[in-house]
């Protein structure tokens, strides 16, 4: 089945197209994520599992298109990593993919995999998000590598990304350890030229699943014996790091030496073209002798690294004078401008290194384009109804987090995947005087919402849980999830029956409604508000961006004779509604019109319009 899909999808990444690509040229342009997938495929990975999360999502989407492999979306990152560990225990090369905060969810699995080691190579591809383009924090995954005594590779472009996955799998087998390949947003979503090769098929490394409890059953007696093995292993890898080919010294002018890795290497080359550089391909464990030797060869030593002073602290601990975060920011994403200005301030480069800038005229404040719920988004009407309850709302991670922005302003907390239900429960049990509403999407419900809902059911808190079921994992690009009924590899499967599941865990009040039916949603919520028991509303409608939904678009119209410009519809925050040039004479207000290119015909505006000035789909179709 995977072979069939290869023939229809994906530029430059599928083996079918690659043959012709090699005839045309030696190079292909790949994103870091595509390159990670490519490296895994070439190195004979047969199993990959992950959970979508920006900026990591495209790794698994790309990998799934290659022939001869199995790839899946798991309900969460811990399940994905456990599954990849299982594949590696069974002697097959494996890949797990996730964003940085996904490794928090998978941390338990990550730590035992470090303790047990594996029978075949395991790479965990983790994508950090400096600058928080699409994340709740900017944690630095390199810390996890140190924490769990696991090596960490840090690619600086797409070629590195492909190569380091391949090298990482070899390291994993050579030292009997999982390996992290850590990317960042600019690597994952940056494109650069890659020289690719063909896949090397590998027979399984064991004939049958190992029966080796001393290594794989982590009861205390066994774990106590494994811990020294793990400490000895990371010491041996540190020794190996001294000659690791992807740790590279580039000697130029000796007055300035820069230790760097990952995307920061590119900024080092850009801003300090004459400096000597120690480029670390492996950022944990660190090569002490290589660093000490490099430091002796340069006059002034700095570390250029995004996020935490990870390398810098270790160089400090070696007793070597070094500067890093005293010059460059610890917060946010680097770019050439940030690095150049910091370097000028520190006197590392002259003021004249600043490129000639334009002088800007006196511009007014420019209107922003904050992310908004799409036209036709089924979440919009549900928030409209929830807002009318005037209750505290504990939100979660997904498109529906956008319920926080004006004009809906409906969400009061959002922390991490699956947090909302637990927060609502705790607040209610502790005596918060109002009823709490928890809002969670279908994918997040499967991810970590279910255990929290079991807690609500079993320990009886009278919270209202709204499961906003749009049938896909929408925020990351409409990936299938266990409620969709289709797998990542395009096969039909059994979808989870959310309502039956909610009833099975002991919740009596469960209602499923069409999320587009605002009146019905409102009615159910008002009933639930009076209850003193747990209650779940499943507000279901497929994401408006799905191809099948797009076929159903019917742009609605405003009857200008009826519209009085009151603006109630604009309070839904739908981008398809705009003020028109026409004025409602008695009030002097501008009337509203609908952009036919944006409107999908979800009818929320038609339902909330006090003047009944907006046509419903049936009316439009009848005309």
């Amino acid at each position: 089945m995977a072979v069939d899909r290869v023939q229809t999808r994906g530029p430059n990444t599928s083996p079918r197209e690659e043959t012709s690509a090699q005839e045309r040229e030696t190079w292909v342009l790949l994103s870091g994520n595509e390159a990670i997938a490519r490296g895994a495929w070439e190195a004979g990975v047969v199993f990959a599992s992950g959970y979508p999360g920006t900026p990591s999502t495209e790794i698994l989407e790309t990998f799934a298109r290659f022939p001869g492999i199995y790839a899946e979306w798991a309900p969460n990152e811990k399940v994905a990593l456990d599954a990849a560990i299982g594949a590696a225990y069974a002697g097959r090369r494996a890949l797990a993919t996730m964003k940085h905060v996904g490794l928090n969810v998978a941390a338990d699995a990550f730590f035992y995999a470090s303790m047990t080691g594996l029978e075949a190579g395991l790479v965990i591809a983790v994508a950090d998000d400096p600058g928080m383009h699409s994340s709740q924090n900017e944690q630095d995954t390199r810390n996890y590598a140190k924490f769990a005594r696991v090596p960490c590779l840090d690619p600086a472009d797409s070629q590195d990304a492909r190569d380091m996955v391949m090298v990482g799998l070899d390291l994993s087998e050579r030292f009997d350890t999982p390996v992290i390949v850590r990317s960042t947003t600019r690597i994952s979503h940056g494109f650069s030229r890659v020289r690719v090769g063909m896949r090397e098929e590998r027979p399984p490394r064991v004939r049958r699943f190992p029966r080796n409890p001393a290594k794989y059953v982590m009861v205390p007696a066994n774990a106590r014996k494994r811990h020294p093995v793990v400490e000895e292993r990371i010491r041996r890898i540190a020794e190996y790091a001294e000659t690791f080919p992807l740790n590279r010294v580039e000697m130029r002018d000796e007055s300035l030496g820069i230790i760097t890795s990952g995307i920061a290497y590119q900024y080092a080359r850009e801003i300090f073209p004459h400096a000597s550089i120690l480029k670390l391909g492996m950022v944990w464990p660190l090569p002490r002798d290589l660093i000490a030797d490099f430091s002796r060869r340069v006059k002034r030593l700095i570390v250029l690294e995004e996020l935490d002073p990870f390398i810098e602290e270790h160089v400090h601990m070696m007793g070597i004078p070094v500067e890093g975060k005293s010059i460059f920011p610890q917060i946010g994403e680097f770019n050439p401008h940030v690095v150049r200005e910091a370097a000028i301030n520190a006197g590392l480069i002259p003021e004249t290194a600043r490129p000639p800038r334009v002088s800007l005229p006196d511009l007014p404040e420019l209107p922003g384009r904050p992310p908004v719920l799409c036209p036709g988004c089924p979440h919009r009407g549900v928030f409209w109804a929830i807002k009318k309850l005037h209750l505290p709302v504990n939100g979660d991670i997904g498109c529906y987090t956008l319920g926080v922005v004006p004009p809906l302003n409906t969400i009061h907390t959002t922390g991490c995947m699956g947090a909302g239900i637990g927060v609502a429960h705790g607040a209610a049990k502790a005596g918060s005087p109002e009823k709490h509403v928890a809002v969670i999407g279908d994918s997040t419900f499967f991810h970590t919402g279910i255990p929290a809902l079991i807690n609500v059911a079993y320990n009886r808190s009278p919270v209202i849980v709204v499961i906003m079921d749009n049938r896909v994992t929408a925020m990351t690009g409409d990936q299938p999830n266990p409620g969709t009924g289709v797998t990542l590899m395009g096969e039909k499967t059994q979808e989870v029956d959310i309502e039956a599941l909610v009833r099975a865990i002991g919740i009596k009040h469960v209602t499923t409604v069409d999320a587009y039916d605002e009146k019905k949603v409102e009615q159910v919520l008002k009933e639930y508000k009076r209850l003193d028991e747990p209650a779940v509303l499943i507000a279901r409608h497929p994401c408006a961006l799905l191809p099948e939904e797009r076929k159903k678009y019917v742009p609605l119209k405003v009857n200008p004779d009826l519209c009085d410009g009151c603006g109630v519809c604009l309070q839904t925050g739908c981008p398809a509604l705009v003020r028109s040039k026409a004025i409602h004479i008695p009030s002097g207000r501008q009337k509203v019109e609908i952009d036919p290119l944006l409107c999908t015909g979800c009818e929320l505006c038609a339902q909330v319009c006090p003047q009944h000035a907006i046509t419903f789909r049936a009316q439009v179709l009848n005309e």
């Binding site: 430059n12 979503h189 334009v358 922003g368 981008p575």
Partner: protein, 216 residues
């Protein structure tokens, strides 16, 4: 690596024979910023130059301001272009043109569609969307070489407003000494087959729009 790359002489007539070029493509989510930048990047690759491209996906993309950095050169390091280092700003939307002016240097070129897309901050009545005339006069104060190309209107005349992105790439092509064949190959690699003909036509329309203005 860089030695044999230098052998390809790409003269950028528009920019005094520079050997490296930094393009910033901007617009609003859904306008085809990423496709336009993919075609630009492929063109660089076909010219046997080193190429890097960078953009952000995810939350920032939903109805938001989208930008994509494309760099060509003998050897490119940073995938992001620094402030004051954008050689060509290709903008698919009026307001977005203003947003990125601080990335330009005095000799930069702007190829821009004056087409407006009103953000929610404007439709909600909180902010004022800038008038076409005002935008043109501000932009004229910043750089000398500005090409206003009504890409959306020209694409609509071809039957599909979504081809505005390729109208602007066509307009850009009139300013660079890159053979048409290179652009056609680049489009073939990145544009879905069923839209290829439309995009070829959009490219031609954009190119002749600028060529005719230049010769007038």
């Amino acid at each position: 690596m860089s030695e044999n790359l230098n052998s390809t002489e790409v003269t950028m007539s528009a920019l005094n024979d520079k050997t490296d070029m930094n393009f910033l493509v901007v617009g609003v989510g859904g306008q085809g910023v990423l496709l336009a930048s993919n075609v630009l990047a492929e063109a660089g690759l076909i010219l046997n130059l080193d190429v890097k491209k960078s953009e952000v996906h995810g939350m920032s993309q939903r109805g938001g301001s989208v930008n994509s950095h494309v760099r060509w050169g003998p050897e490119v390091f940073s995938p992001l272009i620094g402030q004051g280092e954008v050689d060509v700003l290709v903008s698919l939307e009026r307001l977005e043109t203003l947003r990125y002016l601080n990335m330009l240097h005095p000799d930069s070129i702007i190829v821009a569609d004056p087409h407006p897309i009103y953000p929610i901050t404007v439709t909600a009545g909180k902010m004022v969307y800038p008038e076409d005339g005002a935008v043109r006069s501000w932009v004229a104060q910043v750089v000398r070489r500005v090409y206003w190309v009504p890409g959306t209107r020209l694409a609509e005349e071809l039957g599909n407003a979504r081809a505005a992105n390729m109208v602007l790439i066509g307009a850009l092509s009139a300013l660079l000494d890159v053979p048409d064949d290179v652009w056609h190959q680049a489009m073939k690699r990145r544009v879905p087959a069923r839209f290829l003909d439309l995009n070829f036509r959009a490219f031609e329309v954009g190119k002749s729009y600028v060529t005719q203005k230049e010769t007038r």
